[in-house]
């Protein structure tokens, strides 16, 4: 097997085609992404969520510049670009949902993290709960990434509609999403198999309704049970709609088209801006959370480009107080070293309310850590899981 996802086969290449393609490649105006950047410029690729809204803050404090190429949250697209598109040739740092290192690490795309690198000053004080997780290490326990941000995903809801405490501190069972009469026809579920099928799987598993070994990596059999249940609920009219994008999440909540929705936490934040503070709550759950964490990885091909020190300086930044504070303020996402974030905010004269929110972000995450977590973006059985989930979507 070659090192390409869609490996080359011996094909007779039509001379005309090659000539035409090469001709176009060579024509002016189509020069490639310049390889040799100044060493203070780091080229990064991955999800844009890892970027602060104003990234120049980082440039100011580190003296580095980030040349960022964004992608969306599709693991397929991401894998394709890393493996087939050889982005390692041009990019130093890759940031995506942790879990990708299970595949990209052993295959030699991600470099093993040098935990003792002098620029990685914050590594030592970072809690194991953030750095020693499955999301940053492969199955053999080799450390590839540093933690960036993370969260335990659940669902947003209107407390008044489901009769829950308006302060949002109640632990809500997932059954409220799937089979409560209170929410019949008032539910929106994410289309993604990665998120929704594992959540349903967790619900069935936690309530002993199905035999599932690992709901984040279900076998075809297990996935079939999950899909069957979901199809049954779909037919019963439980779901008002299935959504796909962040904008949809916000709109469904702010139009009050639905009462409950498994969404990203910032969606509830955005909806509350439109509806009024704290009208929508992001749930603490009984059964557990879909856990994700973005990891930052260094590409093996970047190791000898002469800017490794700067790359590690950059990796270190993701664990710093400045990054922590802004990320939590802008999206409500937590990460390693929350305490440094609070420190930074205090030192830089943030308001008491902002600081309170930072602290709350940490408390909130810790409260979630008490429950089971699941989530494995590069699951072994992803093909089967996706396949079964299609039945639900097509039903």
């Amino acid at each position: 097997m070659s090192d390409r996802i869609l490996s080359r086969r011996d094909v007779v290449k039509g001379a005309a085609v090659s000539v035409a393609a090469v001709g176009m490649a060579a024509s002016p105006g189509f020069q490639q992404f310049a390889l040799a950047e100044a060493s203070t410029v780091i080229a990064g690729y991955g999800v844009t969520t890892s970027q602060l809204k104003d990234w120049s803050i980082m440039t100011k404090s580190l003296g580095l510049e980030m040349k960022w190429t964004g992608t969306d949250a599709d693991i397929g697209t991401y894998m394709r670009d890393v493996i087939s598109n050889d982005l390692g040739e041009t990019h130093d740092i890759f940031i995506f949902d942790g879990g990708t290192e299970d595949i990209l690490g052993p295959q030699g795309y991600y470099a093993v993290l040098d935990e003792d690198h002098p620029q990685l000053t914050l590594w030592g004080r970072t809690a194991d709960s953030w750095k020693r997780t499955d999301l940053l290490r492969d199955e053999a326990g080799v450390q590839y990434g540093v933690p960036v941000i993370g969260n335990g995903d659940s669902f947003g809801y209107f407390p008044d509609k489901i009769g829950a405490n308006p302060n949002g501190m109640d632990e809500i069972p997932w059954a409220m999403m799937y089979e409560s009469d209170k929410t019949l026809g008032r539910v929106s579920m994410d289309r993604s198999w990665l998120l929704s099928s594992t959540e349903v799987g967790n619900f069935l598993k936690a309530n002993n309704r199905a035999q599932i070994a690992d709901n984040s990596d279900m076998t075809g059999e297990e996935a079939r049970v999950v899909a069957d249940y979901a199809v049954e609920r779909k037919k019963a009219g439980q779901f008002r709609t299935l959504h796909q994008s962040f904008e949809e999440q916000v709109q469904l909540l702010s139009n009050r088209e639905i009462d409950i929705i498994n969404c990203w936490e910032p969606a509830t934040k955005n909806a509350n801006i439109e509806l009024g503070a704290d009208l929508v709550r992001y749930a603490f759950t009984v059964e557990g959370y879909y856990k994700w964490g973005h990891g930052a990885y260094c590409h093996t091909k970047a190791l000898d480009r002469g800017n490794l020190d700067n790359i590690y300086k950059m990796l270190n930044y993701y664990m710093s107080g400045e990054y922590r504070a802004y990320q939590a303020e802008q999206r409500g996402y937590a990460g390693p070293n929350m305490d440094l974030g609070v420190e930074f905010a205090t030192a830089n004269g943030w308001t008491a309310e902002q600081i309170e929110n930072l602290k709350w972000t940490e408390t909130k995450v810790n409260k979630k850590f008490e429950k089971p977590f699941f989530g494995k973006p590069a699951a072994k059985h992803s093909a089967e899981m996706e396949e079964e989930w299609q039945r639900f979507l097509n039903a």
Partner: protein
């Protein structure tokens, strides 16, 4: 036919129609049909523009996704201008659009004026128009596999260009063909007779006649490229065009609606007079009939 048979002298046609037929005659002669035809179409046009107008209104609303355009604000435009991240993709898309437009104009003109002179143009035409029949995602994936895996070329702006050209050229070609097929080749012979060399014949005779189609080809090339996403996702390498930027932002866990709405409004505000002017010139100024 006897002579007498044809000499009947009645004011109304002698072969009278049957009763049912005359019912249909009367029904089809009703003048209201034209009005119905017109208004049904206009209703669909209204359906097209209600969302666009709504979008434009909402781009000034503080709560763009809700149903009510209130409170009014220019914040979204301010944040659009304040946020520099979209500028680079915008420039990439703009330049790409210009290059695709230029390529479309040249290739569509060259090919479009040659096809009508062929004896059997069916095959070439079918191949040329194939991309119209292939869903965008499929074409993107196919080109990706081909270029990246089989030709082992590094993707980048050039491969986006290929994807866009494959998408836009059939439209451009159709546009040129409409005029080229009706082009009277005797004009060229006349010019040749008057001593014009090939290039002069093209430049003095053919080009002015085909100009509206060529301009149209360029315009379509630009706008189709500027708005293209499905193929670009596959062929981008590490380039970012404007639609790719929007697509990435939609997954960034922050609402981009304000930016997208105001950007769409600006695009609308720019293309509306541009296209309007183009068609006005095409219909009112250049139409000699």
């Amino acid at each position: 036919m006897s002579e007498g048979a044809l000499s009947a002298a009645a004011a109304v046609a002698p072969d009278r129609v049957t009763a049912t037929a005359s019912f249909w005659r009367a029904l089809s002669a009703w003048r209201g049909w034209a009005a119905i035809a017109k208004w049904l179409g206009l209703v669909v046009l209204i359906l097209t523009y209600v969302p666009l107008m709504w979008l434009a209104v909402m781009s000034f609303s503080g709560r763009p996704l809700s149903g009510i355009p209130y409170p009014l604000t220019l914040d979204h435009y301010a944040s659009l201008l304040g946020d520099a991240r979209w500028v680079e993709p915008f420039i990439t898309s703009f330049v790409m659009g210009l290059i695709v437009a230029g390529a479309c104009m040249v290739v569509a003109t060259m090919v479009g004026r040659s096809i009508p002179r062929m004896r059997r143009p069916g095959g070439v035409l079918l191949i040329a128009l194939t991309p119209l029949f292939v869903p965008g995602l499929t074409m993107g994936a196919a080109l990706f596999i081909f270029i990246r895996t089989y030709l082992e070329l590094r993707l980048g702006a050039w491969s986006i260009f290929v994807g866009h050209l494959v998408w836009a050229l059939p439209f451009a070609l159709l546009m040129v063909l409409v005029i080229a097929t009706r082009f009277d080749h005797r004009l060229l012979e006349a010019a040749e007779d008057l001593g014009a060399k090939r290039w002069r014949r093209f430049w003095d005779i053919e080009f002015p006649i085909m100009r509206p189609a060529i301009i149209g080809a360029g315009l379509f090339g630009f706008l189709l490229s500027f708005n293209e996403l499905l193929r670009s996702i596959f062929l981008r390498g590490s380039e970012t065009t404007m639609p790719i930027f929007n697509w990435i932002m939609a997954a960034s866990h922050q609402s981009q609606v304000p930016i997208i709405f105001s950007l769409a409004t600006i695009v609308l505000a720019v293309t509306l007079p541009l296209m309007g002017g183009f068609f006005w010139v095409l219909f009112t100024r250049l139409d000699r009939s």
